[in-house]
């Protein structure tokens, strides 16, 4: 009981230190507002606003129809370019797709000579190239069929494929990215705040001082975890309500309370990770360098950007040790699928176990590194 009270008191000190640093607060505010809005609004994972350029050597009514067929929201209005410009446009990445319509295309088509269209795709744009090419093909097929006055395009399917995207009917990337971005920033913030707080105390000699007082290392570490975790949690929840639901108008399915609970467990795990890192990298310059690969890997490989399924098996297994993997799954479950605790409890349990592991390691190394520095 006394131990809890001390932990609470030390944590208050921790909060106070952050709250009276305006630069730090400004960065936290930026992280949970502007940083989320710009990414959610700016980035498209679906085929949207794809840049296409057309070299029209035919200049026929049909070729004009084809050029006009590339419509928003999937494509930006097609840009007409000269043949000589093709290389430059593709090299500079000004267009991801270039359609070449050969001279006499319409005439050949009407004469059933099976003319050839060429679609050049910048395959370095992995996220867009494959899906965009499929869209372009569908658009061309439909438009040419209409031109030929046919209802069903020969070569197209004898069925109607009805695709329904659950939880996000229009597959708007902004929704997905807003939550991903929230999770990412939460991770960076928690690791850096907690880890740097320990190193700052070590560099200023206050950590050593604390250990001469009637305190246990576990109390010192626990105070860092709850205080920094709480700070980030409050910021994240505010952001979820005001920015994600408010500004970005993302409909959120599940219970905010359940999300808060899961996020709290996660934050204890990542703040523990931050403290653990601070016992490996004992000076600020080292910590800064060590933190980068850690949070980048957590953020980009935990299923928030690219699906876990497409990773090599060994990496998938390794990423099960990342609390972020479980948070991403948890957050998507609660916020999009509206899943409840009955479905998501294994994720929470996993985060708790991983967090306990980090906290244990952090404590184990804590005293040792103090003695080494002293």
């Amino acid at each position: 009981m006394a131990s809890l009270r001390i932990t609470f008191r030390l944590g208050l000190k921790e909060l106070w230190a952050v709250l009276r640093d305006p630069v730090l607060l400004g960065l936290v505010a930026y992280t949970f507002t502007i940083a989320i809005v710009t990414v959610a609004r700016g980035v498209r994972t679906e085929v949207r606003d794809a840049a296409i350029a057309v070299v029209d050597l035919d200049q026929s009514p049909l070729s004009n129809r084809l050029v006009d067929a590339f419509l928003p929201p999937w494509f930006k209005p097609a840009r007409a370019i000269e043949l000589a410009e093709v290389e430059r446009v593709m090299e500079r990445g000004e267009a991801t797709f270039v359609l070449l319509i050969p001279a006499g295309f319409e005439a050949d088509l009407l004469a059933a000579r099976e003319p050839e269209l060429a679609l050049l795709v910048d395959a370095t744009a992995m996220t867009l190239a494959g899906n965009g090419a499929a869209y372009a093909r569908a658009i061309l097929e439909r438009e040419i069929a209409r031109f030929l006055g046919r209802e069903v395009v020969p070569g197209s399917l004898p069925i109607r494929l009805e695709v329904r995207a659950r939880f996000n009917p229009n597959l708007e990337a902004g929704r997905f990215l807003a939550v991903t971005q929230l999770v990412n920033n939460l991770t960076i913030l928690a690791i850096v705040l907690a880890g740097a707080a320990v190193i700052r105390e070590r560099e200023h000699g206050t950590l050593e001082h604390l250990l001469t007082l009637p305190l246990r290392p576990v109390e010192v570490v626990a105070a860092k975890l709850w205080a920094n975790g709480l700070l980030v949690l409050v910021a994240a929840l505010l952001s979820l309500e005001a920015v994600v639901r408010g500004v970005l108008a993302v409909p959120l399915a599940g219970s905010p309370l359940l999300f808060a609970f899961g996020a709290a467990v996660y934050l204890l795990a990542v703040t523990a990770l931050g403290v653990m890192l601070s016992t490996v990298a004992t000076t600020m310059p080292r910590f800064g360098l060590l933190a980068i690969p850690v949070f980048v890997i957590l953020n980009l490989l935990s299923g928030g950007f690219t699906p876990l399924e497409s990773m090599p098996r060994w990496l998938q297994l390794a990423m099960q040790l990342s609390p972020t993997t479980h948070l991403v799954a948890f957050a998507q479950g609660v916020l999009f699928r509206g899943a409840g605790l009955d479905v998501l409890w294994p994720r929470i349990l996993a985060m708790a176990l991983i967090g306990a592991g980090f906290a244990g390691l952090a404590l184990l190394r804590f005293r040792r590194t103090i003695a080494a520095v002293a």
Binding site: L24, G42, R175, R286
Partner: protein
């Protein structure tokens, strides 16, 4: 050089305020050239501020100041002054570089002043000879004892043969022997350079007695000024410390009296409360404490004396359990020292040598926090805190934070914290270091009261002889061993003809002599010629820039762990991301809701099962169950085949086939949709060959630059780009702010170095590190991820050079702007991540971004290098098509330099 007789420094109406606090209140002063002038006075009265203003380290607020006939408020004059002034700030070795060797520190200061080559070497050799540092040239400055650090700092200050030497408390925290040697050194140097003016702040009144002139300062005002003898005569006192007290306004003088120690009574036979038996501590090959034994009784005041680095602090740390003894044992209050007993710690108060309370909390908050930590009953806390505030005269500053307080007040706060819980034992490591005489007397009155009336045992270390005399017993330590233990009077009689300081010096000198040749200073009678003015006067000096580079590079090399993080971190990350980020979605788990169960529907299901993209995960019985599978994220998609599918298909009625996708991850959903389409189409073609007829046209889709559509061709180059943003920016981001936090930034303020030299100089080693990183990453991109350099390697190399120059410079901008290292790390991580990962074209093509995001992407270097990397690696381009990006990157480098220079102050405010 000022002619003799003309003042070296003249102040008129100098005022300097920190917020509402006036540190200097209308100071008028003239200091004659060639004099040794002492500045004395209590803590926080403005001594340091005055000296920093004269040195040009602080910006002048109001009043007139003339130094060596020049005006420090004008930039041009300040540049000329910097070559003629040397400034040693307060704090042991504060402007030195602790991880660098003695030789490197000296060489660095020499090159800052344009001293290079043979003449620099001769001068450094002479100075290190004179200071006795010659045999420690390879030792890192941080590992020197306090006295040696100060000698090194002095040698560094003298390297350019200044006309004005400004020393802010150089002897504080230094033992008597080292102090004596410091003065001998100074005297020898002054003999060789009689024209040099020396300003010398000190807390030791006895030291000030030998100065030519003394300036007594109190509360931002000058109390008196003149030769010490004259001041004494004017006040009718015998000693300078008495004269100082006499000069104080009456209300400050009121309750000052030297602390007297009443004798201990009848406590000689109590059992010891602190006992050490053969206590020893080794750090690697270095023996810090060598078989030390002592025992201290209840209520005793036990003093620990000895040169800096002799093992006093280590011994104390072992007693409070911060360090584990290598040999021997120690008992505190009957328990083994360092036992994890919280109850025992509650009975001890410890005060470490350096300030170790929270700078972000106010004085009162610090006390309140500790009251809670010590577990004082809630009801008592307020009263105890108020008591301590009153007793230690901290009430007036209760709501201020420690960084704004002078050293003496900070020490008082530390003692207030250490005694807050009324411990039975106080272990105090140099508690009065840097505290002025009056405050020390009060402090001692408190200690004596605690020991005598409450039976508190006090174990403290000190460099002050008058304090040693007030102890019941003292122990003299040297090089980890105890040289003498006993009552101070006895030791003084036996070893120093009644004088304790003499005894101390004699004992130490004898101990040193037995180890090695004595280090008596042999100051050169003739110092080498000063540097040619022209060499140092350039507005921009490549030599100074390189001096910063060499130093920063040496610091980086001295920290192999940091270097390893900088080089290995990106490699680990590239491998993980290169294998991990893939847009070739495979093994998508799917469920089938087949309500048709005909040959046709099974054919569709089989086609999906047979594809490498999909992995079957059960057949739910109804749509509700299928929904739940999606909800629990057990499957990524559900294939729903309605009843009558097979019949309608055969009849050519275009039946519906439904796919329910999990839209939570939109990237995956989009890809899955495309794959389902492809697989189903092929399956149906096989089911009904020939029916589809031929298409009226052919569409040839050519995936360019990456024909096989491999993620490993597209992703790793981008990840390499990302690494060359994050790591170099982080390296640069701590470069400046760390110096701000640790204090060596003052060398920028007071030497001829300019901000651009400082910034670019620091940047070069980081650029070199980042280029090495680039090379290692490129090799991985090429050989591990199986890519070829299709384009022009020279363009890529030039791009990388410009790019890491830009990103390290971005780090410098952050570093110049923020005040704390935490903020620097945080700002760098957050500010770099988004434009790099999201808006650079690394993951999402720039052409598809909306206007705002594209603008953000375009105002950060990442986008341009991403173009260069994919241009050269994937697209086979060269300089002819990539030059605009190179030019833009060069523009960023310049822009960031300008910003960093603008944000970096030239002087402290």
């Amino acid at each position: 050089m000022s002619a003799r007789g003309e003042p070296a420094v003249r102040c008129q109406g100098l005022v300097h305020a920190y917020g509402r606090l006036r540190a200097l209140d209308s100071v008028d002063l003239a200091i004659p050239a060639g004099a040794l002038v002492g500045f004395v006075g209590p803590d926080g009265v403005g001594k340091s501020t005055l000296l920093a203003l004269i040195a040009g380290a602080k910006r002048l607020q109001s009043g007139r100041l003339e130094v060596l006939g020049l005006d420090p408020s004008r930039r041009a004059d300040r540049a000329r002054l910097a070559r003629r002034i040397a400034y040693m700030p307060q704090g042991l070795g504060r402007n030195l570089y602790p991880t660098l060797s003695v030789a490197r520190n000296l060489a660095f200061f020499a090159s800052l002043h344009g001293l290079e080559g043979e003449s620099a070497r001769r001068r450094i050799a002479l100075l290190s000879e004179a200071t006795g540092l010659a045999s420690f040239l390879d030792r890192p400055a941080g590992k020197l004892s306090g006295g040696m650090k100060q000698k090194l700092a002095l040698a560094c200050a003298l390297v350019h043969d200044p006309d004005l030497l400004i020393l802010d408390e150089p002897t504080t925290g230094v033992d008597p022997l080292s102090r004596r040697r410091f003065f001998e050194l100074l005297a020898a140097i002054r003999a060789a350079r009689p024209a040099m003016t020396v300003l010398f702040a000190t807390a030791y009144m006895a030291e000030a007695e030998r100065f030519d002139r003394v300036v007594a300062i109190d509360a931002g005002r000058i109390l008196g000024e003149g030769p010490p003898a004259l001041l004494c005569a004017r006040t009718g006192t015998a000693r300078l410390d008495e004269a100082f007290v006499a000069l104080l306004p009456p209300e400050r003088r009121r309750d000052h009296r030297p602390a007297e120690r009443p004798p201990r009574r009848g406590e000689e036979n109590v059992p010891p409360v602190i006992e050490a038996r053969g206590l020893g501590k080794r750090f690697g090959a270095f023996t810090a404490v060598d078989r030390v034994s002592f025992s201290i009784g209840r209520g005793e005041i036990f003093g620990f004396l000895g040169s800096n680095g002799c093992g006093k602090t280590t011994t104390m740390k072992m007693l409070v359990g911060l360090l584990e003894p290598s040999s021997g044992e120690a008992f505190v209050l009957g328990e083994p020292a360092g036992a994890d007993s919280l109850a025992a710690r509650r009975r001890i108060g410890y005060m470490s040598q350096s300030f170790s309370l929270y700078e972000e909390l106010t004085v009162r908050q610090n006390l309140e926090l500790h009251a809670a930590i010590y577990g004082l009953p809630r009801a008592e806390r307020g009263r105890r805190v108020a008591e301590q505030l009153a007793r230690f005269e901290l009430a007036q500053v209760a709501d201020r934070r420690p960084p704004a307080l002078p050293l003496g007040l900070r020490q008082r706060l530390q003692l207030a914290v250490a005694t807050l819980h009324e411990p039975e034992i106080l272990i105090l490591d140099e508690p009065t270091s840097g505290v002025d005489p009056i405050a020390r007397d009060r402090f001692w009155a408190l200690l004596i009261e605690l020991a005598r009336t409450r039976g508190v045992t006090i174990f403290l270390s000190t460099h002050f002889m008058d304090e040693a005399l007030r102890c019941d017993r003292i122990s003299l330590m040297h090089a980890g061993r105890v040289l003498a233990v006993g009552e101070p009077g006895t030791i003084a009689r036996e070893h120093g003809q009644g004088d304790l300081e003499t005894a101390f010096v004699e004992l130490l000198a004898a101990a040193e002599a037995s180890e090695r040749a004595p280090l008596a200073p042999s100051a050169p009678t003739v110092l080498p010629e000063p540097p040619p003015e022209a060499a140092a006067s350039a507005a921009f000096s490549p030599a100074r820039l390189l001096a910063f580079s060499r130093r920063e590079g040496a610091e980086l090399l001295a920290d192999p762990v940091r270097l390893a993080f900088a080089l290995l971190g990106p490699i680990v990350l590239l491998l993980a991301m290169g294998f991990g980020i893939s847009f070739d979605v495979e093994n998508l788990r799917f469920a089938v809701l087949d309500q048709d169960r005909t040959a046709e529907s099974r054919a569709v299901v089989r086609a999906l099962e047979g594809s490498r993209y999909f992995e079957p995960a059960g057949e739910p019985t109804g749509s509700a169950e299928a929904d739940r599978l999606l909800e629990a994220a057990r499957v990524a998609l559900v294939l729903a085949i309605p009843p009558g599918f097979g019949r309608d298909l055969v009849a050519g009625r275009q039946p519906e086939l439904a796919v329910w996708l999990d839209g939570a991850n939109t990237t995956r959903a989009e890809t899955a949709r495309g794959y389902v389409l492809g697989v189903v189409e092929r399956a149906l073609r096989e089911l009904a060959p020939g029916e589809a007829g031929t298409a009226p046209f052919r569409l040839e889709t050519r995936f360019r630059y990456n024909q096989e559509f491999r993620s490993t061709a597209a992703i790793p180059p981008g990840v390499m780009m990302m690494q060359l943003v994050m790591i170099p920016a982080m390296l640069g981001a701590l470069a400046v702010v760390r110096e701000k936090e640790l204090g060596s930034i003052v060398n920028l303020y007071t030497t001829p170095a300019t901000r651009l030299e400082f910034l670019i100089g620091k940047q070069l080693p980081y650029i070199a590190t980042s280029l090495a990183s680039f090379l290692s990453l490129l090799l991985i991109v090429l050989f591990v991820f199986d890519n070829r350099l299709r384009g022009d390697p020279a363009t890529l190399a030039l791009g990388a050079l410009l790019f890491v120059s830009a990103t390290t410079a971005f780090g410098l901008v952050v570093s110049a702007f923020v005040r704390s290292q935490i903020a620097a790390i945080f700002a760098t991580a957050i500010l770099c991540m988004i434009p790099t990962v999201n808006f650079s074209g690394m993951l999402y093509p720039v052409a598809t971004l909306d206007a705002v995001s594209r603008a953000i992407g375009q105002s950060f270097p990442a986008l341009y290098f991403q173009r260069i990397v994919t241009g050269v690696v994937n697209k086979g381009l060269g300089l002819d098509s990539l030059w605009p990006d190179l030019v833009t990157l060069a523009g960023f480098v310049l822009l960031f330099w300008v910003l960093a220079v603008a944000l970096l102050p030239e002087q402290e405010r």
